[in-house]
Symmetry: C2
Subunit: 252 residues, 2 copies
DNA sequence: CCCCGTCTGTGAGCCGCATTACCTATCATG
DNA sequence: CATGATAGGTAATGCGGCTCACAGACGGGG
């Protein structure tokens, strides 16, 4: 079975964390300012933090981190998008989350087993910076609000994960697709010639992986939505023609 | 549709938080010591905390908190067991988690939307204590390790929730049941006359709600496992006869 | 330009499981 | 002891969605 993202694991990899900074210090601080994690900190504090933070770019298809990876770090997405997914023994993928600017993902023991068995792959060229557990610990000691921000972040992820469990348990593929498209629309929506577009390239396989169905079933579901003039899809671009109808399907 | 837990919402409710303490101060501290949240704190610190913490008991079937509930608190389970579940518009339940001693559940805005749409119900008589957001904030400021413990706790919950999403997406009812029974065995297992028992009373409806299937399908699945001498079930007690076979089913 | 790899669309067959419909067993209660 | 409520068992039926098998479309590179 050929799976696009899976294949890409053998493709471009991440540059080593010690590479020279790609940007000016000021730009770096500007980026940090947009990270939820650091909400409420002063410019001077951000500057201090930024000096210890290695930045790295990750090409499309590159893995930011994967289960085999044993150096413990907390990664922060500064630019681009990173897809988190799990891989079943027989090669099926379930996409858990799309992270964009300001979102974080951690692989460290004292952060629990958050990333056990989870892959993180750049779906757009991404700029990533990272902490070691020690740095994070020091940061929390100096700025308790960072700890609180992490708590808030994890709570959000947990809430949406549990909502998703209910959806997977009880809803049909069509409902799951509608509900996922509504979510993508809320996050990445932009006006299109007609209706609203989703600002991301998504193959049908990728959409299928998000809702835990097969590519074929997804194709027929899209066809059915197309016939009803609710959704249009052409070369990896999704356009929602009838937002209300879609919301109706999503909410049952 | 009559659902046991659902019906119980109209049954016994929680006592008001202002009731007289049920136990001596020392017992209270002993209980606090077993809460992961407070790992690493001294007896004096625990004593201080315990004085501000209201304790309350919650009878079987009572709701600790439910979506309508708008006073923001963080609840800590001291004794007994609390089931977290979501309720679909058509009355189906999905059990997300069984909390026991030391585990926490929060409904507060700065903890994110963790409890949006989640019910928390005592399945055994439970002893619960709770914080307001202010108290929690002060606690974290004074003892940063409390914040770190919350982060660790949320990470664990998130990891298991995401694992569960994969299971729901790709596994059959039999595999899901096996994998849930293995988990219950690890948490609540005890030696039985033959095989290992699960130390909890569970109706087939309750098991079905844990894996997102119907009661009928669960019954036939249990029958099939019984024929194969893997699992036995009689009046709400599950006994695992062949642990290895069960693990085999769970792991695919 | 053509070719090849990736992506998309569709149909046939099959099976898992939700639903519906009963029936029995057990137990508490009047 | 009769009654009703709750739990457990099983079988018939229908359908949603997975799998398999192709066939067309598209796009980038030699």
């Amino acid at each position: 079975m050929l799976r696009r993202f899976f294949d890409r694991q053998t493709g471009p990899r991440m540059e080593p964390p010690t590479g020279p900074p790609l940007t000016e210090d000021e730009l770096k601080i500007g980026l940090l300012r947009e990270v939820d994690l650091f909400a409420g900190m002063t410019a001077a504090q951000l500057r201090e933090i930024s000096q210890t933070l290695p930045m790295q770019t990750c090409l499309v298809g590159g893995l930011v981190t994967s289960p085999g990876d044993d150096d413990e770090r907390l990664y922060i997405v500064k630019r681009g998008r990173v897809r988190l997914y799990r891989l079943t023994p027989d090669g099926k993928q379930l996409t858990l989350e799309i992270l964009d600017k300001g979102r974080i993902v951690g692989r460290m023991s004292w952060l629990g087993q958050e990333l056990a068995d989870v892959y993180a792959e750049a779906v757009e060229e991404a700029l990533i910076c990272s902490f070691t557990p020690n740095e994070l610990q020091r940061l929390i000691d100096r700025f308790p609000s960072v700890g609180v921000n992490i708590i808030r972040y994890l709570s959000d992820r947990l809430a949406s994960s549990e909502r998703e469990r209910e959806v997977m348990a009880f809803r049909s593929v069509e409902q799951r697709l509608a509900s996922r498209l509504v979510e993508l629309l809320d996050r990445f929506g932009q006006p299109a010639e007609i209706g609203m577009g989703i600002d991301a390239r998504l193959t049908q396989q990728e959409l299928a992986d998000m809702i835990g169905t097969s590519r074929e079933t997804l194709a027929t579901t899209i066809s059915s939505l197309r016939e009803r003039r609710i959704v249009e899809m052409q070369n990896q671009r999704v356009v929602i023609l009838d937002v209300d109808a879609l919301r109706g399907l999503a909410e049952r």
